[in-house]
């Protein structure tokens, strides 16, 4: 059964001459455990699409079904609940609270959902251990590197055991070493069966996906399955021929 199903999504901004169709009649299906990457030039509407899928914004038209429930017509409360329980969001700018330690940042969605502070703390520590940051749990974000901060953000997205994790340019603010950290993490999540939708213009991140969708001017223009053999060998790639 499809985990996430969107049909005919539309979202536009502005009016008249300044009208921008950020999302123009987009349909998408995501299977459980799948990693889908959406690539495209800046301004093509990929972030807007993710906001629609994550309940941070409402579509002008179209339907979204998540885990069997239709969510595009939900009221404000329903969307908040969805953001809380069903969807984990990872932002390009991390958006960690500067005055909270790593573990306090991670447990925040659980506290907002009303879980007991002790249970939330325990779960948060588990997740930090899973992302390899157990020894940094009590550090403030200012004491963490970019890659570590984003990993904390990913842990935060996982604290409510979401059915799907949406990541908006997760490595946009990271250098290549930090990108590798986050990449490894996404790979681990994928191996653990987490469903991921990642918006990126980093082909390395896109390469971790099962499916890659290319977007331009608000619409999908290409879809590629990345699993499956290639025609090249590593040795040739390394220049070892001849």
């Amino acid at each position: 059964m499809t985990l996430l199903s969107a049909r005919g999504l539309r979202k536009a901004y502005g009016r008249g001459d300044a009208l921008v169709r950020a999302v123009d009649d987009v349909s998408l299906d995501v299977e459980p455990g799948e990693t889908v990457a959406i690539m495209g030039p800046s301004g093509c509407g990929k972030s807007t699409l993710l906001h629609l899928l994550g309940g941070l914004d409402r579509p002008d038209a179209g339907t979204i079904t998540l885990d069997g429930r239709q969510v595009d017509q939900l009221g404000e409360r329903g969307l908040a609940r969805m953001r809380r329980d069903a969807v984990g969001f990872v932002f390009q700018a991390f958006h960690l609270m500067d005055e909270l330690t790593a573990v306090e940042n991670v447990e925040l969605p659980a506290l907002l959902a009303g879980r007991s502070p002790r249970a939330a703390r325990r779960h948060a520590l588990e997740l930090l251990a899973r992302t390899g940051l157990a020894d940094r749990a009590r550090f403030l974000p200012s004491a963490l590197s970019g890659g570590q901060r984003q990993r904390v953000a990913v842990a935060r997205a996982l604290v409510s055991d979401p059915v799907i994790v949406l990541a908006d340019e997760p490595t946009g603010n990271l250098d290549s070493a930090a990108t590798l950290e986050v990449l490894r993490l996404f790979d681990d999540l994928h191996a653990a069966g987490q469903t991921l939708v990642i918006v990126t213009h980093d082909s390395r991140i896109a390469a971790t996906a099962d499916r890659l969708i290319t977007m331009r001017d608000g619409a999908f223009i290409d879809e590629t399955r990345l699993t499956g053999g290639t025609s090249g060998s590593l040795a040739r790639l390394a220049g070892l021929d001849g």
Binding site: R84, H95, E99, L112, A113
Partner: protein
């Protein structure tokens, strides 16, 4: 084009760009300066009113009166006992003896006993009452004491009857020789034929000597009064002790002049004044404190959201000094306009409160607003604005352009205890407490502002109780409204309204500033699953919660303030029901006033805020 012109243009453009904030700041400073003006006007005015009146009227150091005694005027007043006093040792000047008749004044449906002194049209050497409205005595016309006239409701040009005979009111005057209405007979220096009961609430009036004589009847003959000036005013008490009984004990008392010293009149007047002072002194200081605090909070709070503007200015090539000048110029301009408006508002209101009776509130002829007050108010408004904006302006100008553009304000401080505790609270309280923890200084300022307001209201409440107590002593009025209490009540009401209005403006501004500051964390909280209602409630909690200790603290402080300022050190605690109502009312008011900005922040679209890049 010169730099001043450039600065002016930038400032004006900036103000036009965000008119709402400028208007709010303008309103707040206007309210604050109006309050300050009022406070200063009231404060300076209750000091030693008696002495001013005495100086303005060539007041007497001692007055001597003789009365007829025996029933129905059997024994006429002994004028012979009076006249030698004019040449007694230590006397430098005298006026009189003037004839005094006791009559019944009827006006506007009231019937009041009145002491009518006969006077010459020319000025007396000692105790010439100062006419504040209209003219001095003329044949067929009467001059009334100012406070008395107000109580009876008679104006210049109106008609009153004395013992049935009509007289036109020529003018209103004030004197220092006799305690002010309703204390005319305070020292029992009256001798109304009808007896003591009628002496309470007796008024004072002046006629021509012929007019006074015409009021005398065989049954109620004339009394006489002589006004004396001594070489050594401080020796008045000794003089009075040496020359006659100080107080008369009623008809049939031993003859001999009844002498009244100026110190006794001052005490009587001050007794009346002190009631008002008990309210006005603390009230005016509270108003001043709240006004200054609100300007500081406002100006300082506005600086935090200047940083973006600073960034733009610097990115456009402005150097740090230019930036500082522009920011300061903008704030000082607003402060200048607002202070002028506030002065005007204060000037309009103050006379209504300060032009009471002579000895009570303000000496006759003093303008309500002195140049000193104007100067002080302007200096305070501009000075506090300058002080509150200089430090943040310099700091803002020094921040690196990049950080300013990224709107990286002072990073929030971390309070581990609050964070741990908040985890155990329901979600709106969790959010509210964490918002407070982020910006502690603002929460403290909010609490202080509430404390000062509550302090003021409680002091006024205590004064109200005190006025109740005080006027219990004065409840010998002939059916007329108590002018003292009435005026004092009016003043208290106005003061309370002003304090509350100022506090309300403060709360609105603080609420709006907090809401702006909390936009990003609110958006994040919503992205992580908080509902709009929870976030809005959290923002309100962040405002209301600091108000609780503020209100609770303000109550004992208000009682103490009143005790300290009322001159007697008496501690008066308003009733518990009033205090409870005040506490609940304050918290409700804060919640209501901050509801709209909180709601608006909670409703802002989440996505655009989270798209913004934040550094670090």
């Amino acid at each position: 084009m010169g730099r001043p012109w450039l600065i002016a243009r930038l400032v004006l453009r900036d103000l036009r760009h965000r008119p709402g904030q400028a208007v709010l700041m303008l309103l707040a400073i206007t309210a604050a300066t109006a309050t300050l003006t009022l406070g200063l006007a009231l404060n300076g005015v209750t000091a030693s009113p008696y002495l001013r009146t005495q100086a303005a009227t060539n007041g007497a150091d001692v007055t001597a009166s003789v009365f007829p005694s025996g029933t129905s005027g059997a024994r006429p007043a002994d004028l012979a006992a009076l006249t030698p006093l004019a040449s007694a040792a230590g006397v430098t000047a005298a006026s009189g003896p003037f004839p005094v008749a006791f009559a019944t004044l009827r006006a506007d449906g009231h019937a009041v006993p009145v002491q009518a002194q006969g006077r010459d049209q020319s000025a007396a050497a000692v105790d010439q009452p100062l006419v504040t409205q209209g003219t001095w005595v003329r044949p067929g016309q009467v001059v009334l004491e100012r406070t008395f006239a107000r109580a009876v409701g008679v104006a210049v040009g109106g008609t009153v009857t004395l013992d049935g005979r009509p007289f036109r009111v020529a003018g209103l005057a004030v004197t220092a020789a006799v305690p002010e209405y309703p204390g005319v007979c305070y020292y029992m220096t009256c001798n109304s034929p009808a007896g003591q009961a009628e002496e309470s609430g007796m008024g004072l009036a002046w006629l021509t000597a012929a007019g006074a004589r015409s009021l005398a009847t065989p049954a109620a003959p004339l009394s006489y009064v002589l006004n004396l000036r001594l070489r050594d005013p401080a020796a008045a008490t000794a003089f009075a002790a040496a020359h006659g009984p100080v107080a008369v004990t009623g008809p049939g008392s031993p003859s001999g002049p009844a002498l009244l010293t100026w110190q006794q009149v001052q005490d009587a007047d001050n007794d009346l004044v002190s009631v008002a002072q008990r309210v006005l002194a603390p009230g005016s200081w509270i108003a001043i404190a709240l006004a200054v605090a609100s300007v500081a909070v406002l100006a300082g709070g506005r600086m935090t959201e200047q940083r973006r503007r600073v960034g733009r200015l610097k990115a456009a090539g402005g150097g740090p000094s230019l930036v500082v000048v522009i920011l300061l110029a903008e704030h000082l301009l607003i402060a200048l306009v607002a202070a002028t408006a506030g002065l005007g508002a204060g000037w309009l209101v103050a006379p209504a409160l300060s032009s009471g009776g002579t000895g009570l509130l303000g000496a006759p002829g003093l303008p309500a607003l002195s140049p000193g007050t104007v100067g002080l108010v302007m200096a305070v408004a501009l000075g506090v604005t300058l002080a509150a904006t200089l430090v943040p302006a310099v700091r803002a100008a020094r921040t690196s352009t990049v950080r300013a553009l990224a709107d990286a304000a002072r990073p929030p401080r971390r309070r581990a205890l609050l964070l741990t505790v908040s985890a155990w609270l329901p979600v709106p309280l969790l959010l509210g407490v964490r918002l407070i923890a982020r910006r502690q200084r603002r929460a403290v300022l909010g609490a202080a502002s509430t404390a000062v307001t509550v302090m003021g209201v409680v002091a006024v409440m205590a004064a109200h109780r005190d006025a109740d107590v005080a006027t219990a002593r004065f409840n010998w009025f002939a059916g007329l409204p108590d002018p003292v209490f009435g005026r004092v009540s009016q003043v208290m009401a106005v003061l309370t309204v002003v304090l509350v209005a100022l506090a309300a403006v403060n709360v609105i501004i603080a609420g709006w500033a907090t809401a702006v500051d909390a936009r990003q964390p609110s958006a994040l909280a919503r992205a992580l699953g908080g509902s709009r209602g929870q976030v809005s409630a959290g923002l309100s909690v962040a405002q209301v919660l600091p108000a609780v200790p503020g209100a609770v603290l303000g109550m004992p402080l208000g009682v103490l303030l009143f005790a300290a300022a009322n001159g007697t050190g008496q501690v008066l605690v308003p009733p518990a029901s009033w205090l409870t109502a005040l506490l609940l009312g304050t918290l409700t008011a804060v919640a209501v006033l901050t509801f709209i900005p909180s709601l608006m922040t909670a409703r802002t679209a989440v996505a655009p805020l989270l798209q913004a890049e934040t550094f670090g």
